[in-house]
Each structure stands twice: as structure tokens, then as C-alpha cells.
């Protein structure tokens, strides 16, 4: 009995000792690891300092890069058309801002979940990835996005000669371009040894991009469509690239400029470095092992880390031979609920974020109106600033002109008159937008300011409907009309298709319904999940719908507006807009390169669509961008203002 308890005590004691020792070992290991990590950081800092010391040479190289914008060829390069002036304009905006902190970190939310692929040619590379594209992958030329997006400056190329009636483009690449190390791949793995080393970026990487895009096996259909006019392309040497187009077209310009390089050394090989046979290259390209690893490009930043489900990190590419942005690191924590942005912003877990209209109302507008903001709200004590830049997207209601109700432009105009845009913008969208009269951004020169906003006028709408033959003959309160001669009169009742997901759209639809009912038109709301909504658009199976178009700067109008596109199955001219004069303008625009001439034509086009009202143009979107006070020099671009932070800087934050 006694022995038993002694034995038990000894065992317990020994066990206790083991546990204590284990804890001590774990604590010590932890300390050791912490020290290792600290040393690693110091070594990295030391390396960067050395880099910076030797950056004297770098800065000279940069100056030389800028100098080559002039018309003298750099040593060893012979221009093919030395008498043709460089089409590239100087960059309109410069960075970094003088005296800015060059070590800043910008943390911004990524609310789209894990990216579905990084291959820029494939369709599954959703539009969300475009947001990192402009940092990570420069193309041949870029728009002067802050000043005048119609002007192009050189990005990876420093000179372009446009010859042979705008059919031939000769690009000269900046010297010394090289691919960064691929991220999210373990280079220490012997299987990836072939990826190591220095990989220069040459004109071949650009032709590879085009080859893959035009390869019929590659699922790049939407991109390939834009290059149907491309005749040939050729890398004359490592730094000279020639693109030839079949016909003179204005789109040739943008489509040539946006050609970007694809790392041929990666995409032609499987994960073990074995080259694909040429006949199966396209098929393998669609399912390439690197597609989901990281975005590989050469630009002001490189993607240095992507941890699925957690974050993406972009780091400034100091080897990029152009102006260096001040912000050194862009961190994108990945999450899915956009509502979280507000919390993360307040918690300072992100330094910049976008608020929804509802959040904007609750956090800011409400207090602005009452004049009594809460005591420690970061939005009112100077810690977080919110701005509302204009976005390049507009909201509208589309009327299906192929349906008998809306074939008459007087009816469409009456609908616009009954659509209380001002009130909805103010009260539903919290003033986040600018009322528009046409499809162009309000800050674009193509917008004809003389076009007047159609007023909200129910009586006027009723009159117009009466002119179009709609009247209430049976006293049921609804207007009616014989849609075709000889048919019985039908009441004016139509279905309004709205996409699910936006809290504002149902409110808009209800207001419109109430207003229309006042003038004897019945609107039935039907809401559809997004993929079904798109299907209904493809099949033109709707009377009217509400949505928004995201537009670029001076884009080709053919696809959305040309009457030939109204009869294309799945075409973008879903509302059936057909106007001969507009068609003529669209066709002339395709051949017109002169900017002044283009502005005139586009303004004329604006007047036509404002008169025809195929859409009730509603408002150009504004976004609410909120950022912490250390984010400085917030200059918003005219296109995608919420995305491009190249001229920005982030001040040092004391912990």
C-alpha cells in the first residue's frame, strides 16, 4: 500500500518534470527562432542598404531612360524610321513626389476571394485581377491616366513609330528589362532549378503573348476578337517589335499599346521544365501549372507573395527602368465580405478601403447632417479621410427597342421623364454619382455639355405617351394601345429585370414603379441572380433592365452601339439601338486619328443617343475611398481612380 503511493508520487513527479522541461525547450526554441528571424531581417535590411548605395548607378540609368524619349537613338540601336517622330508623349504625371517616404506600406482589402487564375489571356482571370495587372505588368505603352488618357506614354517601350497610314507600329523596348523571380514557387526545390537564374525580357516575350492569344486552342476568345485586324507581328531583334495591321483603324492604336509580355521561359514548359510539344502547347497553356501561382509581369511592382486564402503582396520592382513609385509594398489581405472593409479600416488593419453607399450614410453623412459626430470616430478626428472620385462607369436603364412597347423613341423619352434620377441619386445612392445625359464620363471632352438633362416630369411623360398612341380607353387606370394594327388594345404593362446583389437597385425599381403607376404604366419587377441575368441579356429576353456599363477612355463604339450588333446573338447591343447616322459616325471614328476631329464626332454621337434614349442614362458612378492620414498625395486617375496609386505615398507611421 505504502509502496504503491510512493511509486505513484515518483511517476507523477517524473511526468511533471518532463512537462516542465518540454515547456522550457519550447520556450527556448521559440526564442532561438525569434533571434533567427530578427537576424534574417537585419541581413535583408543590410542588403537593401547596399543596393541603395549602389543605386547611384541606377538613378543614372533612369535618367538615361527618360532621355531616350527624345528622338536620338541610344548607342547600338538604329531606328527603322528615324524621320518619323516618336508617337509617345512624355508622361503627364510623375512620381515619386519629392521628399516622400520611399518605404511606405499600403494595405488594401481584396474582397473577391482567392483569384481564379493569373494568366492574363484566359477568361477565368476575372476582372478583379486587372487591379494588380497595372502594377505588376506594364505593357508597351500606357495612357496618361491622370491628365489626358488620349495621350500615350512609353512603358516597356520608349519609342514607337507609326507608319504606313497607321498600319505599321514599330516599338523599341527599353534596354535591360528582366523578369523578376516567380513568386509562390519554391525555387529551392530541385524540380524548379530550371526556373532559377537571370531571364531577360525580350521582344520574343511580346510575340509569344500574341502567338498564344491567336492560338485557336487557347481559350482567349474575347481577347482574340480584338486582334482580328492584326496582320502580322515580328521581333526584329531582342528590343525591336513590329506589329502590322490589315486596315487603318483607330483601335489599332490601343490594341498595339496594350500588348504585354508573357514569360515564354515559363509558359512553354511544364512544371519540371520539359518543353511542351508545339501541337499541344495551346491546350497545355489553358491548364498551365503556373496559371494559379502568381501574376508574372514586368512593371513598377512585382508580385512577391501570394498565400491562397490569406494575402497577396506586391513589392516595388527596383530593377524596373522607369520612375519608382514611393509606396514600397502593397499588401492585399484576402477576404470575401465587403462589409468587413469598414471594420478593418477602423481597426487600421487596412490603410485604404472603399465604403458602400450604406456605410457612407451610416458612418459619415448621418453625422455631417446632424453636425454632431461621435467623439472618437476616426472619420471625424482627422485620422481617416474619405474622398469620392469619379469612376469610369455609368448606371442606366436599358429599354428593349425590339419589343413593341419601347420601339417608339417618344415612349423611351417618357420613361426617362418618369425616372426621378435626381431624387434616387441623392437619397438612394447617397449622392455618389453625377447625373449624365449620355454614355461618356462627365470629365471626358467627348461629353457634349450642351445636351440638357431630360427633366423629371410626369405630366410631360403622359403627354408624350399620348402622342405615341397610349391612352386609357377602358378606364382601368392603365394606358392601352393596339400594339399592331388590327390587334386588340393591350395595357402598358412590362417586366423590369434587375440583378440581385445590390441593395440600392430594388429601391430604385420601386420608386420607378410608383412613378410609372401614376401615369398609367404598370411595371413588374423581376429579379434574377447574376448568371441568369447575363443569360437573359444574351438572349435579349427582357423588356427593360437596369445595370451599369464599365467603360474605358474613348473606346470603340462599334460593339455596343452599331446597328449590325443588334442582330448578333449574345451581342452587346442588347437594347436594339439602330440609327443610320450613329452607324456612320461609328464607322468614321474607326478611321479618324485626329483628336480634335474625334471629339467633334463623339459629341455628335452623344447628341444622337441623348435624342434616341435607347437607355435612360442615369449617373456616372462615384466611389467612396477612405484612407488613413499617412496616405498622402492621393491623386485620382481619370480611369479606375480607386485602383491606381502609383503617384501616391505613405508616410512613416510611428508604432
Amino acid at each position: 500500500m505504502r509502496n504503491d503511493s510512493v511509486l505513484r508520487a515518483v511517476t507523477l513527479g517524473a511526468l511533471g518534470l518532463v512537462v516542465v522541461m518540454l515547456v522550457v525547450v519550447i520556450v527556448q526554441m521559440n526564442h532561438l527562432e525569434a533571434r533567427f528571424i530578427g537576424q534574417e531581417q537585419q541581413i535583408r535590411a543590410l542588403g537593401e542598404a547596399t543596393d541603395k548605395l549602389s543605386a547611384g548607378g541606377l538613378r543614372v540609368a533612369q535618367a538615361a531612360g527618360v532621355a531616350t524619349v527624345s528622338d536620338a537613338p541610344p548607342p547600338g540601336v538604329k531606328f527603322l524610321h528615324p524621320d518619323v517622330p516618336n508617337f509617345f508623349k512624355p508622361k503627364g504625371t510623375h512620381w515619386p513626389p519629392p521628399g516622400a517616404n520611399m518605404e511606405g506600406v499600403l494595405v488594401r482589402g481584396w474582397t473577391y476571394g482567392d483569384p481564379k487564375g493569373f494568366n492574363p489571356l484566359l477568361e477565368n482571370n476575372g476582372y478583379s485581377v486587372e487591379f494588380v495587372d497595372l502594377y505588376v505588368s506594364a505593357s508597351l505603352g500606357g495612357m496618361n491616366a491622370w491628365t489626358n488618357p488620349s495621350d500615350w506614354h512609353g512603358e516597356l517601350a520608349y519609342r514607337v513609330e507609326i507608319t504606313d497610314d497607321a498600319k505599321e507600329f514599330t516599338f523599341y523596348l527599353r534596354p535591360g528589362l528582366r523578369w523578376p523571380a516567380p513568386a509562390n514557387v519554391n525555387l529551392d526545390d530541385p524540380a524548379h532549378a530550371w526556373l532559377k537564374g537571370d531571364h531577360p525580357l525580350t521582344a520574343d516575350d511580346f510575340t509569344f503573348f500574341l502567338e498564344m492569344m491567336l492560338n485557336p486552342q487557347v481559350e482567349a476568345g474575347p481577347h482574340r476578337n480584338y486582334y482580328q485586324n492584326l496582320d502580322s507581328f515580328k521581333a526584329l531583334d531582342a528590343t525591336t517589335l513590329v506589329l502590322r495591321w490589315k486596315e487603318k483603324q483607330y483601335t489599332n492604336l490601343a490594341q498595339s499599346m496594350v500588348v504585354e509580355p508573357l514569360p515564354k521561359f515559363i509558359y512553354t514548359r511544364d512544371e519540371h521544365g520539359v518543353p511542351f510539344p508545339k501541337e499541344t502547347l495551346g491546350t497545355n497553356f489553358n491548364a498551365h501549372w503556373f496559371n494559379n501561382k502568381a501574376r508574372m509581369g514586368v512593371g513598377p511592382y512585382s508580385m512577391t507573395r501570394y498565400t491562397p486564402g490569406s494575402q497577396m503582396v506586391l513589392t516595388r520592382n527596383d530593377a524596373f527602368p522607369d520612375e519608382k513609385p514611393a509606396i514600397k509594398t502593397l499588401v492585399y489581405p484576402i477576404y470575401t465580405d465587403p462589409a468587413q472593409t469598414l471594420l478593418k479600416l477602423k481597426a487600421h488593419e487596412v490603410t485604404i478601403g472603399e465604403l458602400s453607399a450604406g456605410q457612407y450614410r451610416e458612418e459619415i453623412l448621418r453625422y455631417r447632417q446632424s453636425g454632431h459626430p461621435p467623439k472618437d470616430s476616426p472619420f471625424f478626428d482627422g485620422r481617416i479621410t474619405c474622398e469620392t472620385p469619379q469612376q469610369s462607369a455609368y448606371r442606366y436603364i436599358g429599354w428593349n427597342a425590339d419589343r413593341p412597347y419601347f420601339a417608339d423613341k417618344r415612349v423611351r423619352r417618357a420613361m426617362t421623364m418618369a425616372f426621378d434620377r435626381k431624387r434616387i441619386l441623392e437619397n438612394v445612392y447617397m449622392g455618389l454619382g453625377t447625373l449624365v445625359t449620355g454614355p461618356f464620363p462627365p470629365n471626358a471632352p467627348y461629353n457634349d455639355p450642351s445636351v440638357e438633362l431630360i427633366p423629371y416630369d410626369l405630366d410631360g411623360a403622359k403627354k408624350l405617351l399620348a402622342e405615341a398612341g397610349w391612352s386609357d380607353t377602358n378606364g382601368d387606370g392603365l394606358l392601352d394601345k393596339a400594339l399592331r394594327p388590327g390587334e386588340p388594345r393591350k395595357p402598358f404593362e412590362f417586366t423590369f429585370l434587375i440583378p440581385q446583389g445590390s441593395p440600392e437597385i430594388p429601391v430604385l425599381a420601386n420608386i420607378l414603379r410608383d412613378d410609372l403607376l401614376k401615369i398609367g404604366v404598370k411595371l413588374d419587377i423581376e429579379s434574377a441572380e447574376w448568371s441568369l441575368f447575363l443569360k437573359r441579356m444574351d438572349e435579349k429576353d427582357f423588356d427593360a433592365y437596369v445595370a451599369a456599363w464599365t467603360v474605358g477612355w474613348d473606346e470603340d463604339l462599334f460593339q455596343i452601339w452599331h446597328s449590325s450588333q443588334a442582330d448578333v446573338a449574345k451581342g452587346s447591343n442588347r437594347v436594339g439601338f439602330r440609327n443610320k447616322e450613329a452607324d456612320r459616325i461609328i464607322e468614321t471614328l474607326r478611321r479618324t486619328f485626329d483628336q480634335g476631329e474625334r471629339v467633334k464626332l463623339l459629341q455628335a454621337f452623344h447628341r444622337i443617343v441623348a435624342d434616341e434614349q435607347p437607355y435612360s442614362f442615369f449617373s456616372a458612378k462615384k466611389v467612396v475611398i477612405c484612407h488613413w492620414k499617412e496616405v498622402e498625395n492621393t491623386l485620382f486617375a481619370k480611369l479606375f481612380p480607386n485602383v491606381n496609386t502609383l503617384p501616391w505615398s505613405v508616410a512613416r507611421v510611428e508604432p
Binding site: 519550447i26 521559440n30 528571424i37 531581417q41 494595405v107 476571394g113 487564375g117 477568361e123 477565368n124 476582372y127 478583379s128 485557336p216 487557347v218 481559350e219 482567349a220 476568345g221 474575347p222 476578337n225 482580328q228 520539359v274 501541337e279 499541344t280 491546350t283 497545355n284 489553358n286 507573395r305 491562397p308 486564402g309 490569406s310 499588401v331 489581405p333 484576402i334 477576404y335 465580405d337 468587413q340 471594420l343 477602423k346 481597426a347 488593419e349 472618437d376 462607369a393 425590339d402 446583389g501 441572380e529 447574376w530 448568371s531 443569360k535 444574351d538 438572349e539 429576353d541 445595370a547 451599369a548 456599363w549 464599365t550 473606346e555 460593339q559 455596343i560 448578333v568 446573338a569 449574345k570
Partner: protein, 480 residues
């Protein structure tokens, strides 16, 4: 018992097949089509012939161009194809929807439509003839054989080279609709001579038709892969499904297993307490509290918790937990222990949300289980022996009282994989639940099927384990 278990195991196979068939049908018959989910704005994306070609490659790759269960395309007639081509090219009165359907149907038919399309090349209606050459170019093109073979044999390469060359040639057999008649006729003549040379490819004997009927279908293609445990790749990201599933399992498993363990650890003492203090005020307070918790929906609690206790809280003193996610942005710079602590810190709120809900049920089971045991004779005997109440409950009653809630465990097996969609969404944890919802929105058939089939297996195993554990626990239950 063994025989019973074996019989149940064998029965699982047809059950599984049946479930998979139903799942497959529901998925494939659901409206909508696979594609990246973007909500809100429409951006321009040009559609046209090359897009159709690209989309066809996509559909071919995932067998989406095939019929779902049975392939009856060998019964196709010239009149049917003609009607489809007429609808697709807008001859006669057709709505846009009919055109879209006819186009997609013709693109999907592939080789089956080729002989009839060639027949239409002589059609007196020029629009039909032009449309026929258009669809021929899409349907006559053959996919490569085994394109992902990284070490193709010489014969495979030569076959693929031949296919590639032929496809390239067929793609050039085209004309624009306003081309001069002579050009059109030249192209049409080349199509005809190509068909004469290759017509054997499009003819099937009875055996070929039979195998086509059953085997050349989506379901058969899926099962061919499944037979060697290949769940395919995601239709959207093109990543193999299983490795992604495993990588996401880490998040969901930690959350669900962690909260399950936590729930049991809390529910058992609570249940014991209520059973021992049965009918007292303390018991009633605990019961009331638990039922109040039970009736609070967890998405509501999650939002409230974030609002009050995350670092984004309005109240300075309450700020203590991160606003979501799995780890901090700087976690890579931490020591292993530090990383664990970081993750644990992130998991407090989501795990709390997943735990409190199941407390009520579990502790009620525990309470009733123990109450039943406490009234048993052997407990009375133990008390009569003069053992202290603590020993009676802790040593004699608890073991037997635990059995019912342990058998519950097996039934919870599937929920481990399912994860909690709402919690994952609100806390931004990229686990399985979120993945399923995403995949459903994008109609990513392969991902949905893989997860659902895994869940099916877990449910079946869970059911079996539950039944078996009843027998183990209660000797009165016997399976013969």
C-alpha cells in the same frame, strides 16, 4: 454484428451511386452556366466567332458539349439540323433566345452534325449555306488526343500533329458573308472534297452507336475519371480539385473540430450540473441561458461580436480581437509559436460563434442521459455502499451517462467537412463552406460534385457508425 456491418458497407455502394446520379442530374439541369461570377457592372467583352470557338474548346474539355445521360445524336436527321441552322442564322422568324439556343446546340453537336452540315452546302437558301460553313468550321475541328501527356510517344505526337494540321487547314476554309460568289463556291468545294476524304470518321456501326448511347455522355465521362479517383480540375481556376480541397480542409477542420471539442468540454459539465441540480433554480437559469443562446442566430452574433470586440470596435476598451481572417498580414515574420498564437487569436470569435449554438442541445442530451442513469439500480447501490456523491456521479454514473452524446458524434461527421458557410463568410476564412457557395454561384460543377460526393461518403459512414455505436453502447440493441 460483423455480417451486419459488411452488409451495410456493401449497401453503401448502390446508395452512393444513386446519390451521385441525382446530384449530377440536379447540377447539370440547373439553369445558368459555368463562368466567372462578377456581380454588378457589365463590362464590354466582344463576342463573335472566335469567342464561340474558344467557348467550344472549354465545353469540350469538360464534356459540357455532350448530352447528360444518354447520347442519341446518331438519330439526328438532316431536317433537324437544317431547322437548327435556319434558327441560328435567322432565316424565318426567330427570337434572339431561339437563335442563341440553336447556335449553342449546333456548336455542341460536334462531329454528329458534320454530315448534315455538308449536306446543307448545296442548299438553295444562301444564308443557310453560309451558316453551314460557319458551323462546319467549329464542328469539324477535332480535339487533340491526350494533350496533357507530358512524355508523348512518337505515334501520339504524329497523330496530334496530323490533327493539329488538319484543324489549322479547316479553320482557313471560310469566307465573309459579302464575299464574291466565286470565292464562296471555291471554299464550299474544298469542304466537300474534305468530307469525301474523311466521311468514314462520321459513320458508326451498331456497336459504335450503342457505346455512343451510353458512353459518350457527361455522366460516363465523369465516372470514367472518378473510377480512378480523378475528381478533375475546377472549371474556373483549372486547379485540380482534390489538392485545393485538402488545402481548404485545414481551415474548416480547425474551426469545426475545435468548436466541436469546445462544445463537448463545456456541454458535459453543464449537463452534469443540470442533472445533479435537477429542478432547482440553478438548473432553470442554466437551461434558460442555453436556450437563449440557442435561439440567437450565429450570423447575428458574429456581426455583433465583431462590432464590439474586434479591433475596429467603437469602444476603445473592448478592442481585443482581429476583424477576421486566418492570420495577421505580418504572420510570416513570426516564430512558429507566435504564428500559432496569432491563428488562435484569430479563431476566438469564429470558434465561439460556432460553439455556443450547439451547447444547448448537447448539454440537454447530457442531462437527460445522466438523469436516466442516476435512477438506475446500480447507482442506488453505489450510494447505499456509502460512496460520496462525487464518486457516485463522477465514477459510476457519468461513464454510462456519456454514451448517448458520444454516439451523437458520429452523426456530426459530415458537418466537419461542410464547414460553416456563414461564419467563414463573415470572418473571411477561405474554408470549404465558402468554396462551395462560390462554386455554386459560378456553376463550377467539378468542385461542387467533389465536395458533395465527399460529404455523401461521410454521411454514409456517419450513419453506419451511429447505428453500430448504438449496439456497442446498449447491449439490448442487436443487429443480426
Amino acid at each position: 454484428m460483423k455480417a451486419y456491418a459488411l452488409r451495410r458497407l456493401l449497401l453503401m455502394i448502390p446508395t452512393f451511386l444513386g446519390i451521385s446520379l441525382i446530384l449530377f442530374l440536379i447540377l447539370n439541369l440547373a439553369p445558368g452556366r459555368p463562368g466567372a461570377q462578377q456581380s454588378g457592372d457589365l463590362s464590354q467583352s466582344m463576342r463573335g466567332e472566335v469567342t464561340a470557338e474558344s467557348y467550344k474548346i472549354f465545353r469540350e474539355q469538360f464534356h459540357l458539349d455532350k448530352p447528360i445521360l444518354f447520347n442519341t445524336r446518331f438519330t439526328l436527321t438532316a431536317a433537324e439540323v437544317r431547322a437548327q441552322v435556319a434558327a441560328a442564322s435567322g432565316v424565318g422568324t426567330t427570337t434572339a433566345a431561339e437563335r442563341v439556343h440553336a447556335q449553342e446546340a449546333l456548336e455542341d453537336l460536334g462531329g454528329a452534325a458534320v454530315p448534315f452540315l455538308v449536306g446543307l452546302l448545296d442548299d438553295p437558301e444562301p444564308k443557310l449555306r453560309d451558316a453551314a460553313t460557319y458551323f462546319l468550321r467549329i464542328d469539324a475541328v477535332r480535339p487533340l488526343e491526350d494533350p496533357f501527356d507530358s512524355h508523348p510517344s512518337a505515334s501520339l505526337r504524329s497523330r496530334n500533329l496530323a490533327i493539329d494540321a488538319e484543324n489549322a487547314e479547316l479553320r482557313t476554309l471560310r469566307y465573309v458573308s459579302d464575299a464574291p460568289e466565286a470565292t464562296k463556291l471555291a471554299v464550299i468545294a474544298r469542304w466537300k472534297s474534305w468530307y469525301v476524304a474523311h466521311h468514314a470518321r462520321f459513320e458508326h456501326d451498331a456497336l459504335g452507336k450503342l457505346s455512343m448511347f451510353f458512353l459518350d455522355t457527361r455522366f460516363a465521362a465523369y465516372w470514367r475519371n472518378l473510377a480512378h479517383l480523378d475528381f478533375g480540375v475546377s472549371l474556373i481556376s483549372r486547379e485540380p480539385v482534390v489538392p485545393t480541397l485538402v488545402s481548404k480542409l485545414k481551415y474548416s477542420l480547425t474551426l469545426s473540430v475545435g468548436s466541436l471539442v469546445l462544445a463537448y468540454l463545456i456541454a458535459i459539465p453543464l449537463g452534469v450540473f443540470s442533472a445533479v441540480k435537477k429542478g432547482t433554480r440553478a438548473d432553470r437559469v442554466v437551461t434558460l441561458g442555453l436556450f437563449m443562446l440557442y435561439s440567437l442566430p450565429n450570423f447575428f452574433v458574429a456581426t455583433i461580436l465583431l462590432y464590439f470586440f474586434s479591433t475596429g470596435s467603437e469602444w476603445q476598451s473592448l478592442r481585443s480581437f482581429p476583424t477576421g481572417g486566418w492570420s495577421s498580414t505580418g504572420a510570416a515574420e513570426l516564430t512558429t509559436l507566435g504564428q500559432w498564437r496569432d491563428i488562435a487569436w484569430h479563431l476566438v470569435l469564429p470558434m465561439g460563434c460556432m460553439t455556443y449554438n450547439s451547447l444547448a442541445a448537447l448539454s440537454r442530451y447530457m442531462r437527460s442521459g445522466l438523469l436516466e442513469v442516476i435512477q438506475a439500480d446500480y447507482v442506488r447501490t453505489a450510494r447505499a455502499k456509502g460512496l460520496s456523491e462525487g464518486v457516485v456521479i463522477g465514477k459510476h454514473a457519468l461513464r454510462n451517462g456519456l454514451l448517448p452524446i458520444l454516439t451523437l458524434l458520429a452523426g456530426l461527421l459530415p458537418s466537419i467537412l461542410g464547414g460553416s458557410v456563414i461564419i467563414e463568410y463573415i470572418f473571411g476564412i477561405q474554408g470549404l463552406g465558402l468554396w462551395v457557395v462560390d462554386s455554386i454561384n459560378q456553376r463550377d460543377y467539378n468542385v461542387i460534385l467533389a465536395i458533395e460526393l465527399f460529404t455523401t461518403v461521410l454521411v454514409l459512414i456517419g450513419l453506419l457508425l451511429t447505428d453500430l455505436s448504438y449496439a456497442l453502447v446498449d447491449p439490448r440493441i442487436r443487429y443480426e
